[in-house]
Symmetry: C2
Subunit: 146 residues, 2 copies
Amino acid sequence: MYEKILFPTDFSDVATKGLKYVKQLKGAGAQEVILLHVIDEKELMVLSRAPAQYQQIVEELKKEVATEMAVIVKEMTSEGFHVKPEVREGRPSAVIMDMAKKEKVSIVALGSHSKSDIAELLMGSVSENVIRYAKVPVLVISKDNA
Amino acid sequence: MYEKILFPTDFSDVATKGLKYVKQLKGAGAQEVILLHVIDEKELMVLSRAPAQYQQIVEELKKEVATEMAVIVKEMTSEGFHVKPEVREGRPSAVIMDMAKKEKVSIVALGSHSKSDIAELLMGSVSENVIRYAKVPVLVISKDNA
């Protein structure tokens, strides 16, 4: 049932706790994790207002993302998962749903912010959209769970 | 991980599809299902405006609920689950969260309406509140999943 999990991450504390929970899904049959980070097109748009630094900042951002991804891939691989890292640019919820469809995942697992969290203002709409429109079940892991 | 599942149902088509998915969780280790129906206190408040018929309508409602519950209990039991039916009155999301805590469930599984669904206006706030505030992971099963 949980062979193939799509786990989107923004490398936040909440995502880290979500990942901790996903590890435990091994006992429920989880084998493969598509680890997805979406570089939000909105952030890129903001950056494009500074064209002189744009290329440099984006390159640095991508390097940071690659480093963070590598850490998680290593960690999950040592836990026995088959991990496929993916980095995309776009609207996070749309990219997540496209990836879920393309990769035919069994489930999308999401770390979720609580309402009181300031980051909720940014992240909330991503998980909300995925929960509403995803064609596969969505496992929502609140930061209190892990 | 999924030994004990709390499955709230309003007996809708969406809940029925959610239940179909929950059955498949047997392969992921699910053993016990707390089957919860909450009689919405708001409905009872509306009914209380008709005091002459109140008692009779509530009795009929409870009888219908008992019949619906019995059908699901039989179905789930024959699938090898240990099922504990619970009927409560109150605010659905609050009752669901209290039950999750009291019963120390591993997960809350919820059938979810899509945004385009008219019933979403009623049901949406229940799942939204549970997703936001539950202290355990929430598995959201959209009606397209099952």
